[in-house]
Amino acid sequence: MKGKVNVQEEHNRWEETTLKKVLERSPERRESFKTTSDIDLKRVYTPLDVEGLDYLKELGFPGEYPFTRGVQPTMYRGRFWTMRQYAGFATAEETNRRYKYLLEQGQTGLSVAFDLPTQIGYDSDHPLCTGEVGKCGVAIDSLADMEILFDGIPLGTVSTSMTINATAVILLAMYCAVAEKQGVPLDHLRGTVQNDILKEYAARGTYIYPPQASMRIITDIFSYCKDHLPQWNSISISGYHIREAGSSAVQEVAFTLANGIAYVEAAIAAGLDVDSFAGRLSFFFGVHNNFLEEIAKFRAARRMWAKIMRERFGAKKPTSWMLRFHTQTAGCTLTAQQPDNNVVRVAFQALAAVLGGTQSLHTNSRDEAFALPSEESVTIALRTQQIIAHESGVANSIDPLGGSYAVEALTHEIEKKAQAYINKIDTMGGAIKAIESGFMQGEIADSAYQYQREIERKERILVGLNEFTREETPFTDILKISPEVERYQKEKLNKVRGQRDPQKVKASLDKLKKTAQGTDNLMPPLLEAVKGYATLGEIADALREIYGEYKEHTIIT
């Protein structure tokens, strides 16, 4: 104890003498230094800031509760994170070519971007889809497209993440059907469906059905995966889009974990044992510019989830306590001005994700403030990860910043602030209520507006945007999606409709509707429907008939 007293005394002395003299001569750049979550950063962190920290209780060892230092005992000494670039555009044919290119370049997992019609459950020829087909992802209308998408890609060895939510159950059924055609047993499949509808209501917007029906579909997926796809992540509870919509780091952690709690509660209410599905829950976060705050955020999230699962839900298996996550660098930090600077931003963000212990990573491309990335840009983004992995050396020790006074203090602070939000959401009646009342959306919009004002007042400097600017030369070397894609996709769709057995399609959709009205799992009738080439739009419509559609309430605060 004598040592600590000395540090405090010495700290006071330092402030009164050495520091004071300098501050009198030249004040600091700002009165206060804050993170994005409004956490006041101290001038210097010392042992005093980690005085209450119980190492074994709050940090422990990698691969053990509470997993603050990482979910695996060897982390990147065993295997690097999965380098997984989110990709998809135009047709299944073109995207299949991009996947093969990325795998040849050393990428280790696939991540499918679907276009909006696919995400919102419309066929490509639906009137609402004008201009959207194949634009921000690949267009999938039926199993026929999914077969082309994974043509020549062995589903038994590659792991595939699919950013799909309201229609996740349909795309998962299609993926299973393709695997069956390739002769791959379902229990060999590895990958993830995002399947996180709550953040769609709160931040991303690709919802279809009202919350109660959506939660039923989600717990059906949990249940089916637990029995048939034991290596599949049945959900990716996503903070990424909450953050992209404008939240702070603390809000990202808090709202994501609050949504996670809602899914666990729904699954338990549906009769599932917590340890039977919790090990297949995965997470997805963004990684932003504020380097230390981001690293601390990942560590805090891991510790919080472990406590939630063990203490709140009484989960007994260590795998149920683990927060495993994918990370993507922050799209909203990319600037249209001097776009090459984005390469540097992405590199720092990616480094923070690795120091935060991510399981997989997507690095954004420099040109994404204009369009989907070109092949050249996406290669630089992938190379960034490979340089961190093979050249920087940071992957060789686990959680190398653990024990840093600043990082531990920040980790603690983020946990404390995020827990306060979760407590507040609990008193509101949980995440679903907090979304239905617009609470989460309002908090996110407030943070987004504050961020924008900080930029405009130059309280926040973005290099090349509000400082160090120059005359911009238009950046035009970008990926273009031809309007021909829409026409071609509609042609393919018509061909599929003409070649299938209409009686069989109708019967399978009727069976699906009947199941949707009852309580049996939706997956078996869905598998039958997709195998008979019922289209995505037809299936989504069948469920619309039973469940209705969600309408958002928009308020500008």
Binding site: I120, T130, A445, T554
Partner: protein, 134 residues
Amino acid sequence: MGERKIRVLIAKPGLDGHDRGAKVIARALRDGGMEVIYTGIRQTPEQIVATAIQEGVDVVGLSCLSGAHNQLFPQVVELLRKKGGDKVLVIGGGIIPYDDIPALKKAGIGAVFQPGTPTEEIITFIKDHVGKHQ
């Protein structure tokens, strides 16, 4: 009696759900002294034009990040002209490549604002151009 406030409709055409920009702009224009209505996401050009006419707005601000702007923005202008909204200034923003801007302007979009545009620039543009548009 003060001057009549400029009335603006901020709209999200198409299926895109990225509404951060639309909401930030809506708030900035309101703080800049305008009356602002926000449509919410997933609006068809028909719905947007119907709201614009019904609310008698001076400006329609379109936000699209999904890449569907080349189809959707001109449709809104065309429908507006048909329904008697000739004087309404239409502007747009989102993930829009440089190469697409000339055609959008030719189709009647008064200005296209790319990511990073200060809201003050948009406010100034609206004040300078509102009511003068053909």
